[in-house]
Amino acid sequence: MNATPRRLALGVLTILITVVAAVSLLTAQDMAADYPIDWWAPSQGGTLPAVLHLDNPSGTLGILNTSGSLDTKGHPFFEPLGTNGRACVTCHQPAAAMSVSAAMVKERWRKTSGKDPLFAAIDGSNCPSLPQAKEASHSLLINRGLFRVGIHWPPPNAEFTLEAVRDPSTCNTDPVWGLKSKNPTVSVFRRPRITANLRYVTSGDAPFNSKTGELTDLDPDTGRHVAMNLMADARAATLQLQAIDAALTHLQAKAAPTAEQLRRILDFENKIYLAQSGDRIGGLFSAPNAPDGLGPAALEHGQPGLGDNLKLPVFGLFDVWKDLSKSPGLTDAQKEFRESVARGAEVFLLRPFWIRDTANLNDTGPGNPVKRTCTTCHNARFTGMDLAPGFIDLGTNNYPNWTEPGLYSESGSLPVFKVTCGKSAPPHPYLGRTIYTTDPGRALISGKCADVGSIVMPQFRGLAARAPYFANGSAQTLGDLVDYYDTRFDMKMTRPEKSDLINFLSAL
């Protein structure tokens, strides 16, 4: 195992603090320098400690296994289950908050010349039919951390037709893998979700989707309704179904994992909690008087539920960091960072702005536009997800608010689909019946025109360890992410507000 457990070195912190004192408005992300990237290879064996701290650009990620240390040798999460040499851990790396970062992928390409199973043709390349030895054939994974997700086309009762009008990946127009192939398939490209804190992600069993009035999906084993917050399009009702789907597709297994393998995978996933546990500037979050919502231990005993902006906020209270002017034992830089995080929490919770034209939000009751805050959508305690089934068309996928270049630009790297909705179908509430999208999202499962572009929002934990952001990997930094929201919703954030919000997000 390359990943050596370590805590932040105080000496390094002291040097960094000295530097930071001179550049007060720079964020933790801006300060990112070279940092070691650790890689956990399938079958490498070794023990995953009960408590693990791993460096990342902003500081340290903490991982807590509530079952104690784990011998990974022979464990199905850490061993190849399929034919391409990958294990679950290939795309759910501890050092990247149980996901993968683009920086990590780049480094892996450099070290292995693309031979690592991570780059398996099936989904680690833009299309399996491309020449696999070429780096360009894996550009979406290397540059944006995106894996190809092939979804059968069309879904049952599809209300729309789909045409690939531009396809840099080549896969949607490919005669073997494409939309018009023998097995018609839509290829979209998405970031892997983190396999931790899942007690929160899967919480909820309401029979009705409070947004749409439709019934929520059922757990086929228990018959209970599920939260529908797994995967970018909520296509897997349960962790077990997700694991089977991943084994058969991403790992190219010839059969589903055995019941015992599934039990061990799920048992592991359900016991893992992670969160940023320290900052290169701000120090360790476990120190006395730290906010109660930071660090992985905060998640171990927390109760899932809806956050309350004033009493029980989504990520807890940050009052203890609001004014550190009289706090002994902290450097000026530490005080400044922590106070910035506390201000960022207030921006997140309390700064109102107009949220408009966001399908599966504005059209579900609050009105369009609605004057609310970030927590209107990011309302689930500890994760910042949406307690209601959280697929929302923020705009990242759909023209004109998408994150990609202009509609007719040749410089875009994602496929562009033209969606044409049937005349009798309810149209997309803000885009009508003709939509250009890089990923139809939930609509590929529901078949609904109104769902085109909607994506289940991911959780906010361990962000600093797993750039880039958004399901399409378009935001290379947290600054890019904040800038997108600022533009999309005309928030008119000040530079200090942005810095505070970025520092807050980096501390989660």
């Binding site: 029979p207 009705f208 409070s210 947004k211 749409t212 009035g213 439709e214 019934l215 107009w354 408009r356 034209d357 504005n362 059209d363 579900t364 009751g365 609050p366 009105g367 369009n368 536009p369 609605v370 004057k371 009798s424 309810p426 149209p427 509430p429 803000y430 885009l431 009508g432």
Partner: protein
């Protein structure tokens, strides 16, 4: 259902007041707190309601869409700069109208009204005992829309629970196609497919809640109801009759 029925009864008895029905762009007015919603008709601003949350009894309209406003003018002071309408029904028109995007700035002299609408509650049915008789449930919809907020899905949950309690032999779903008579004399009919879509949706929900498919039957009234400009919101409905 009770809320709508009462509202329509009140509406009928207040005909002396001016009943308005019109389609227009909704206008949002910012305030120092939460925004409020207005609609302009023949040079006058009418107050529709204020922003609340998805548990509220009334949902604000959607900009980028026109809104059908059906309400009765109320005497008294303006609210948020508009003449209040009550009872009030608003329906988001399905097709896009991108020019509907007016946001009025906050003004010191126009405060946000206090939230007056109590949260909607969805009490569960009291247990009943045999002998059971046929029971009628009604779900109302916005114009040309099949969306079902919590106040509607709670009716469906009650239907399913009642059907299980009485071991229902049949559930007759009757979906009507509504219409609206506007104040300018025009008539708006709901789309031809809307009644079928509503009925199928309710059947699907009931089946998902455990009602046997074999007990469900669907009847579509696809001739639009004759609108009178007063009771029109009640024409956009699905009735479910549960036979023990």
């Amino acid at each position: 259902m009770i809320r709508l029925s009462l509202a329509i009864a009140v509406l009928s008895t207040t005909l002396a007041a001016q009943q308005l029905s019109f389609v227009t762009c909704p206008v949002v007015r910012d305030t120092k707190t939460v925004p409020c919603w207005l609609a302009e008709y023949e040079g006058e601003l009418y107050y529709l309601g204020m922003q609340e949350d998805i548990d509220a009894a009334w949902f604000p309209p959607q900009q980028s869409h026109e809104v059908l406003v059906e309400g009765t003018v109320q005497p008294g002071p303006r609210v948020c700069g508009g003449i209040p309408l009550s009872p009030l029904f608003t329906s988001v028109m399905p097709e896009l109208t991108r020019s509907c995007n007016t946001v009025l700035p906050a003004k010191d002299e126009i405060p946000a009204p206090a939230a007056t609408r109590p949260p909607v509650t969805h009490p569960m049915e009291e247990p009943s005992s045999p002998p059971y008789i046929a029971r009628d449930f009604t779900v109302f919809f916005d114009f040309d829309n099949d969306q079902m907020p919590a106040r509607s899905t709670s009716v469906i949950a009650s239907v399913a629970a009642w059907a299980a309690t009485v071991h229902a032999t049949s559930l007759q779903i009757t979906a009507a196609r509504g219409a609206a008579l506007l104040s300018d004399g025009r008539v708006l009919n709901e789309s031809e497919v809307i009644a079928t879509r509503r009925a199928n949706k309710i059947a699907r929900l009931l089946k998902g809640l455990g009602v046997p498919a074999s007990s469900l039957s669907i009847r579509i009234e696809d001739t639009p109801a004759k609108p009178d400009g007063i009771h029109d919101p009640a024409t956009r409905r699905v009735r479910i009759i549960v036979q023990p």
